[in-house]
Amino acid sequence: MKSAAVLPIAALSVIAVGLVGCSTGGAGGGGDDSTLTISGWSGDETMEAIIAAFEKDNPGVNVEFTGLPWPNILTQINTELVSGTASDVVVVFPGNGNPITAQTLAKGDYLVDLSSQPWVSEFNDANKAVMGADGEILMVANNFTIIPATYNTQALEELGVSAPQTWSEVLDLCTAAKDKGKVAYALGGLAGGTFHYLPYALTATLVDGPNPDFATEQAAGDVTFSDSEWSTAFEQYTEMLDAGCFTTDTLGTSLEIAQEQVAKGDAVGIVTVSNHISDIEGYAPEGTTFETAAFPATDDPSETILPVGLGAGYGVNAKGNVELAKKFIDFYMSEEGLNIALDAGSIFPTVPVEGFEPIPALAGVAEQVQSDRTAAFPDQTWPNSNVNQVYMDQVQKLLGGQTSIADALAAMDSAYAE
């Protein structure tokens, strides 16, 4: 009886050890000329479609794709690059702010300089500045991320109003929504939520609008958060909070709950990245439609600036199969590759594509995205990741009433100066 129980365990382990012995797999990196390894997003159907087309165009080439989930992708790719085991093509973010951004990785020569590739000339200087460091281009993205205000059209109709074009109309919307027992703007204040996007929308108009060189001047030490219109942006943010524009108890509200509120019309709109729109549509009852507008910060609609940033893209591992990887990146940015991406997903392309039509929900901002009335996300030019962390903490503290605007900005300034 005693040993009887031990036997099955021993037997199982013998079988299992045998099975383990049979299974081998190659880790990423290196490889022969015909194999390309790519580390991308898990469940990224767009990428899978591009890879399939690339394999078809290049007979004999075999692409091995590894999909990684958020947020582990950050630690994963960083660890692999540092250890020399990364795939040939890896996800890289523009600017600064996390462990796999172009400028962070520039410190270690982990990525290949792509500045002589054909698509580079399609990008303007502001974009190129966040795609690498010291004149090198280390990553490229085929998609823009936009921060518009997204509205539930039926909820707007119920209130008998249209999407606000001025700051006063924003505040009016808050009142009108409140009268109907709704909130104007869903706001997920819990970690991973949407709370940090609305100030970006405000500063685009208030800070970058009058002074497009703000980021450069700040880097030179000529301006700071505290002595800039950032304070106005935070004032308007807290004004909205006090006016009851946002989800009640916003700090306890998660991303999904905020998205559901606007999907179901309990909230009229939400200010968040355009990539969230498809999730919101997924939560919405059939027949619900959504529209977008740039979020205003002043009473002159022509002053409104739309935050548009490069999305996450890809870079080439310097220790990998560089030539084939470059070839893939070129394909990713080619007319053919872009068209596949447009067909498969709802991306907003970073370079002009003939016959491009944005998804209906983004029609309201499509024209402005391609105009010069846009501004990059401020965090992409912040000099270290900690500014972003401090910014998030301080915005939450503002929403919770635990700090003053002056203190919040001072904290951000000291993180910036590190």
Binding site: K2, S3, I9, G25, T66, N72, E80, T85, E256
Partner: protein, 273 residues
């Protein structure tokens, strides 16, 4: 012995109420897994229409079948190695009074203190240098090594509580040290073997960081890695994730249920047997 009195009845009711509180979040988990995408009812309301679509989709899209096999291999081998190695190590550490045994015992316990984040990067590079990246062996060795402190702690604690008379009798009969351990001591500590096995199994089965890190780039996935494949950059397909999680926890709950019976036969049973 015990009879089922009114007092037992009251206890039964109280325990069921406690269990209901525990079950509530799990109800939500099942509820969401059975809801169709686009179901408008709230998180708590039952589905408008029960659907197995999420399970089917998670199964095919996530390749959960293969992932379950990989997880089973990793878990069974890891647990077998943990049980054998930690029980063997705990035996002299709990029986020998010498100074070296005490020092070794505390050296193992020190492993409980170390935060995993400290070792993450160096350990990855050790596994790389051993050429074990992308293999299940990498995951297994990391799991077994990391589980030693906890498992030896559990085993040593219970082995000390075990009277030495049985072993002494076996030793007097001329049994070797190994034989004494294997046929006398190991069966006697059965409840704790069950406990070590189930707690480590849960941990190994659910571990996500280790298999993600060490199997990345190969075509091998464990069940957790496959399930989190539904978490993307801008959101997660929770219906699919929850369906995947339900699929993934069933084997481990069944294993627990079976081991549980093995545990509760107990010291007493072992001594009698």
């Amino acid at each position: 012995m015990y009879r089922y009195t009114w007092r037992t009845g009251v206890l039964e009711v109280v325990m069921i109420l406690v269990a209901l509180i525990f079950l509530f979040p799990i109800y939500v988990l099942f509820n969401l897994a059975f809801k169709a995408t686009g179901d408008q009812s709230s998180t708590l309301a039952p589905p408008e229409r029960f659907t197995f679509d999420n399970f089917a989709q998670a199964w095919s899209q996530g390749g959960l079948g293969n992932a379950l096999i990989n997880s089973a291999i990793v878990t069974v081998v890891t647990i077998a190695m943990i049980v054998i190695f930690s029980a063997a190590a705990a035996y002299p550490l709990s029986r020998v009074g010498a100074r070296w045994s005490k020092i070794t015992y505390f050296a193992f316990l020190a492993g409980l203190l170390l935060p995993v984040q400290l070792a993450l990067l160096p350990l990855y590079q050790i596994i790389r240098d051993l050429g074990l990246l992308g293999t299940l062996w990498g995951v297994i060795l990391v799991g077994v090594g990391g589980a030693m402190p906890f498992s030896i702690f559990l085993y040593a604690g219970f082995m000390r509580a075990l009277p030495a008379e049985y072993e002494e009798a076996a030793a007097l009969d001329g049994a070797s040290a190994f034989r004494t351990f294997w046929s006398v001591v190991f069966p006697l500590v059965r409840p704790i073997t069950g406990t070590v096995a189930i707690l480590n199994a849960v941990w190994t089965w659910n571990d996500f960081l280790t298999p993600l890190l060490y199997l990345s780039g190969s075509q091998q996935k464990t069940i957790t890695v496959a399930v989190y494949g539904f978490v993307g950059q801008y959101g997660a397909q929770w219906n699919l994730i929850f369906a995947g999680i339900i699929i993934s926890i069933l084997p481990i709950l069944v294993a627990y249920f079976l081991l549980q019976k093995y545990i509760v036969q107990g010291f007493a049973g072992g001594l009698k047997g």
